[in-house]
Amino acid sequence: MGQRPTLSSYLRQLWRRRHFITAEARAKAFSGNRDMLLGNLWLIGVPILQGLAYYLIFGLILRTSRGIENFTGFLLVGIFLFRFTMASLQQGIVVMSQNRGMTSAFSFPRAAVPLSVLLRETLSMLPVLATLVLLLLTVPPGTQVTWTWALFPLVFGLQVLFNTGIIMYTARLGSALPDLRHVVAFVGRMWFYMSGVFFSLDRFVSEGVWLSVLQANPLYMVLDMSRDLLLYDTVPDTSSWLFLSLWAVITPLLGFWYFWQGEETYGQH
């Protein structure tokens, strides 16, 4: 007892908990705003307000929008999708301490906890994505539905996979070092600016190492590819698909392995 099971037996035990993961995610999805007047409307209200703020400052005042076709659409896609990965990052840091009630009462593979949180965040994204589509179609200059929209679920799926890796990493890190709770906001902010949420990267960085570094950022790829598909009727090139897929496969595999390595440490106080 108390020793880390082998990876295969761990996976087997985890598979037996699949109903727990889904039930836990469903029970807690859409419950975060229960004590607020507008309740779950905030799920979409917050990104809309954020979008408005960035639109005012960067679109109207600083005019980073210059040279960007359909800047409102550009901004909406950026903010709505960035928040998803940001949520995984922030939730991951606190997930093990927030679920201590369950983990100290029942013994089960601890990976079930971050996985259920990821599933919960993904479920919460569905109404957010519906709102995104609605806004894209109605807010001027307006966007046309094209056949490339059909490819967007693929990009979203890759983002989900990538987020799985993020949440596994941060779950173990945050449980070992609670101080990271403060660092993560800073990291998130850096990531936000490096991902070109409200401006086009190539306007400021035109060549060299930095551009390659910034463009290798998986979140930048997610935003860039989503914009191509949703706004510009363009199919991203093969190399984008390839690199994002690599991120989306390697990150969760390593993240899961890293989390499993710490399995016996999560029960300690």
């Binding site: 007892m1 908990r17 727990f20 836990e24 029970a27 369950m102 009462a105 029942f106 300690q268």
Partner: protein
């Protein structure tokens, strides 16, 4: 050492547990000590919660564990349940033990019924089996319609009853009870006793931690006395519990010399301790069929 020679259900072999505990200074240099802990692992003291504890539990036994607060009783149960890992030594169990403590708050924002469902699923139940088991959980808990209220509205007694009901309905072979019986009212103590009898009848093993030695004497077949992390007596429940009570009574009355003599005598006699250790060592080499969870 004991006559109830059922099959071994739990083997604890030479288990020690050390904790590195940060020392917080009264001058409030919390940040510095925290940084020190992270950066160079300093500013901590080592607490030996358990020192080389060995014993074997058998099917059909109810084992009481006595000792003062902080003697390592709860740590031992957490080890057996697999919620914490020993620093040294091994714990083997025939099946996944179920630990029931007073502290677990589950998920306060969800209702009792939802908590029960999630708890059973976390234990690896299939959804169909959960549906079949839930009515029994509610029946054992006996808290009526309160199961549909958020658990944050429960009194501590109600919460304990619900948790006990989840544990009992899961029908574990090995049940670990940590001071559970002391929080409930008379009715819940009786329910708990009935469940414990059921488990023993199924050839399972129940562990019962309590510093009320009388409870141990009444409900257990065997008892372990743990003092400052060391197992100092292992044997028939009434003998161990009475020795502990007599010592504790002397401590309470301020008869420190008598108490110290008693403790020294017990520690030196190590009644049943060496036998348990050799049994554990023997069992651990031969028992390949115990699951190594």
């Amino acid at each position: 050492m004991d006559s109830t020679d059922g099959e071994p259900t739990v083997v604890v072999d030479d288990v020690s547990r050390r904790f590195e505990v940060p020392v917080s200074r009264p001058s409030g240099r919390g940040l510095r000590s925290k940084v020190a802990r992270v950066v160079r692992g300093g500013s901590t003291v080592t607490v030996h919660a358990l020192r080389s504890v060995s014993f074997v539990a058998h099917a059909g036994e109810t084992i009481g564990i006595v000792g003062t607060n902080g003697s390592g009783k709860s740590t031992l149960l957490r080890m057996i349940a697999g919620l914490d890992a020993p620093s040294r030594g091994r714990v083997l169990a025939r099946s996944q033990p179920m630990l029931l403590g007073v502290s677990a708050a589950l998920q306060p924002e969800l209702s009792g019924a939802e908590n029960a469902r999630l708890g059973l699923l976390a234990l690896g139940f299939s959804p169909a089996r959960v549906t079949g088991t839930l009515p029994r959980v509610f029946e054992i808990a006996g808290i009526g319609d309160a199961v549909y209220r958020p658990m944050s509205t429960y009194s501590s007694g109600m919460g304990a009853r619900l948790r006990f009901a989840i544990a009992a309905a899961a029908e574990p072979d090995i049940l670990l009870l940590d001071e559970v019986l002391s929080t409930g009212d008379a009715a819940s103590a009786q329910r708990a006793e009935a469940r414990m009898t059921e488990i023993r009848a199924r050839a399972g093993t129940v562990f019962l931690v309590s510093h009320a030695a009388q409870t141990i004497e009444e409900m257990c077949t065997r008892a372990l006395w743990i003092h400052e992390g060391t197992l100092i007596q292992d044997g028939e429940a009434s003998a161990t519990a009475r020795a502990y009570r007599w010592w504790a009574w002397n401590v309470a009355k301020g008869e420190h010399d008598t108490a110290a003599d008693l403790l020294r005598e017990t520690t030196e006699a190590r009644r049943g301790v060496a036998e348990s250790a050799s049994e554990a060592a023997a069992v651990i080499t031969t028992m390949g069929r115990l699951t190594h969870a």
